[in-house]
């Protein structure tokens, strides 16, 4: 049985190539962990977008709205629970983060349902209008965030237990990044299991390939799509909450900013492919961190270069989804 492992190899290749350039092993480990953490956060935000695209050929340019909403909701809850955040107890810290993240996930999921109903559904199958309307949705959502939370950025600091770094010899690894990696891997594993081991997952994978045939087999794909859209929005909210805590500031523009990275990731991965999205996210995260260390001036442009290189190699992205 033939599986395409080549794209997966890119990650260790990139890592090893960076090692001699970075020079010190300690800095390399720190950068690698930072890159993985960033990549996994982007993966969490991007996974839903790539699935909804694959399933219904809908690309939501307003996806950033869910990211921003997640960040704001989580920030509000954490600020309300400030005493627990600053307490010197891991459990109290988690008792503040838990509800904050849960609220972010629920609110962005619900917003996703509304977004799908009001903005996406009327323009199924019309790409130009889809782009315009969902971009309009992003504009309005960004303004509404300012209406509700005010125009100023919100500053929040990480809870006591997640500040600082683990020290292993002369290697420093930020605690929060470890958490981000763990959460990202859990989300990836959860998605992979759902897609590969459940009937819903089977339906989604079949629907990504050929939605019409799934309908002809007697399944209501629209309902499936709404579900995936809501879950994707909720995951974007989760990613947004984590991103906000990572940056320690939250602004209404966060959604549009991160959405650019998200787009690059799903283009690299191959539109519609969750596995490709995972690899793409890690590549983007690692590249950003290595280049950020080696040549800070061009760090953010490096993603475009990465995208261009990958598209030169595989014009449809790493894992093109078999279509019709």
């Amino acid at each position: 049985m033939k599986r395409d492992w080549l794209p997966l190899l890119l990650i260790p290749v990139l890592g090893l190539a960076a090692l001699p350039l970075v020079g010190s092993a300690a800095s390399w480990v720190t950068l690698t962990v930072a890159g993985l953490a960033m990549g996994l956060m982007i993966f969490i935000m991007a996974s839903g977008l790539t699935l909804t695209f694959g399933l219904m050929d809908v690309l939501n340019f307003g996806h950033g709205a869910f990211i921003a909403v997640g960040a704001f909701v989580a920030a509000s809850v954490m600020l309300a629970l400030a005493p627990w955040m600053t307490a010197d107890s891991l459990w109290l810290n988690l008792a503040a983060i838990g509800p904050a993240v849960l609220a972010a996930v629920v609110v962005s999921g619900l917003l996703g349902l509304a977004f799908e109903r009001v903005l996406v559904r009327p323009v199924y199958g019309q790409h130009l209008k889809q782009i315009l309307v969902t971009t309009g949705g992003l504009i309005v959502a960004e303004q509404l965030l300012k209406v509700i939370w005010g125009p100023e950025q919100i500053t929040l600091s990480r809870p006591t237990a997640l500040r600082g770094a683990f020290l292993l010899g002369d290697i420093a690894i930020e605690k929060y990044r470890v958490l981000a990696v763990v959460v990202g891997l859990v989300v990836f594993a959860g998605l992979a299991l759902t897609l590969n081991r459940t009937r819903i997952g089977l339906l989604i994978r079949a629907g990504v390939e050929n939605g019409e045939m799934v309908e002809a087999l007697g399944y209501r794909i629209r309902r499936l799509f709404v579900g995936v859209f809501a879950v994707g929005s909720a995951l974007a909210g989760l990613g947004g909450a984590m991103w906000g805590l990572y940056q320690e500031t939250v602004t209404a523009a966060i959604g549009a900013q991160v959405a650019v990275l998200v787009f690059i990731v799903i283009i690299i991965g191959g539109l519609g492919s969750v596995g490709g999205c995972f690899i793409g996210a890690l590549l983007v995260g690692l590249t950003a961190n290595y280049i950020g260390f080696l040549a800070p001036k061009v760090a953010l442009g490096s993603n475009i270069l990465l995208m261009a290189l990958i598209l030169l190699w595989r014009p449809q992205g790493l894992y093109p989804v078999a279509k019709r």
Binding site: L128, I131, L300
Partner: protein, 355 residues
């Protein structure tokens, strides 16, 4: 005779609505006499901005309305034109030679970049192109603010315009109480250039080339089957649009004597252009004109209206925020979505249906 001349100037693409014609004439004349009718730095600034944005929006309409492709990189070309002139004037001093170098360099960079992006990504789908342009434009904006030696970074560039365009330059005394100085000359340079550029774009969309673009927009597969290389046509369209956007950027740089990322490259400007074209009316050229006027007005004056509402609602906690003067974009955003749903041909379409 007059009618024929008008047809020739407008490339046979008449407004086809009495009201639209009235509004367009009002804009044309209003902008022509603006320095005399509304003297003062702020209103002249608004008028010049309207001229620049009319060109920018019209060039975007060539892409969005006539070719059916969404590019989020249009401000990038606008910025390239502006920075071309700004950098040349900064480096070479305030001379017309510098302006010429800036214009040529800006145009060349814009066209080459548009061609590369187009050939790279226009063969795929609308959505793909939209995403790629978004990514490229954001990277470019970051690059521009990082290369501070060349671009002045976040602060941008402040430079001196050629002497003839500066306030001290005088070519007469006063006319109707307005001083005939370099600023006035500058304004009319911007104004006339804008008129010429809009007429040129009008000519392009009404040429055989423009018809092919619209055929591709309606049905790319059919156009390809008839024998038109859609990628080539779309790429040429995007190069023309990029060139026109760069020229709009040149005009901005020549007007404001400062160029920075916020006024040329930011995503906010991109959103503004999108709103202008869609609300004004996609695929009509005149819609871009109306949209630009409307939006620049809204930016400068809708805030005052909102301020009144905001004051009236001062007691109501959340509701008042909806009418905060800074939330004008919220209302235009809603109008934008409604336009896409219900009035795909925007204000111009409405006016034309009414006759």
């Amino acid at each position: 005779m007059v009618k024929q001349a008008l047809r020739a100037i407008l490339s046979d693409d008449l407004p086809r609505s009495r009201w639209l014609a009235v509004v367009l004439v009002a804009i044309l004349v209003g902008l022509a006499v603006a320095p005399f009718l509304f003297p003062g730095a702020k209103s002249l600034n608004v008028a010049a901005k309207i001229c620049v944005f009319i060109v920018l929006a019209a060039s975007f309409d060539l892409l969005l309305g006539y070719t059916g492709i969404v590019s989020f990189a249009h401000t990038m070309f606008f910025g390239i034109g502006a920075y071309g002139v700004a950098i040349a004037l900064t480096r070479m001093g305030a001379s017309w030679a510098a302006v010429a170098v800036g214009v040529v360099a800006g145009l060349a960079v814009a066209i080459v970049l548009a061609a590369v992006i187009g050939l790279f990504s226009l063969r795929v789908r609308t959505i793909f192109f939209a995403m790629i342009t978004l990514a490229v434009a954001s990277a470019f904006a970051i690059l521009a603010s990082q290369l501070s030696d060349l671009t002045g970074g976040e602060d941008g560039l402040n430079y001196r315009l050629p002497a003839e365009l500066r306030a001290p330059f005088s070519f007469g005394d006063t006319l109707f109480g307005v001083r005939l100085n370099g600023r006035l000359l500058d304004y009319y340079l911007v104004y006339l250039a804008s008129v010429v550029l809009v007429l040129a774009l009008l000519r392009i969309v009404n040429s055989p080339f423009g018809s092919v673009l619209m055929a591709i927009r309606e049905n790319p597969f059919r156009a390809e089957a008839i024998g038109y290389r859609t990628v080539v046509y779309r790429t040429i369209a995007s190069c023309i649009a990029a060139a026109a956007a760069a020229l709009a950027g040149v005009l901005l740089a020549l007007w404001s004597s400062q160029t920075n990322p916020d006024t040329t490259l930011s995503f906010d400007i991109m959103v503004d252009i999108l709103l202008m074209v869609v609300i004004g009316g996609m695929g009509t050229m005149y819609g871009a004109v109306l949209g630009a006027v409307l939006l620049v007005f809204a930016q400068n004056y809708l805030q005052d209206l909102l301020a009144i509402a905001h004051k009236a609602l001062a007691g109501v906690p959340l509701l008042a925020n909806f009418f905060h003067p800074d939330r004008w974009l919220l209302w235009l955003g809603v109008a934008f979505i409604l336009c896409v749903y219900f009035f795909p041909s925007g204000i111009v379409g409405r006016l034309r249906n009414r006759r």
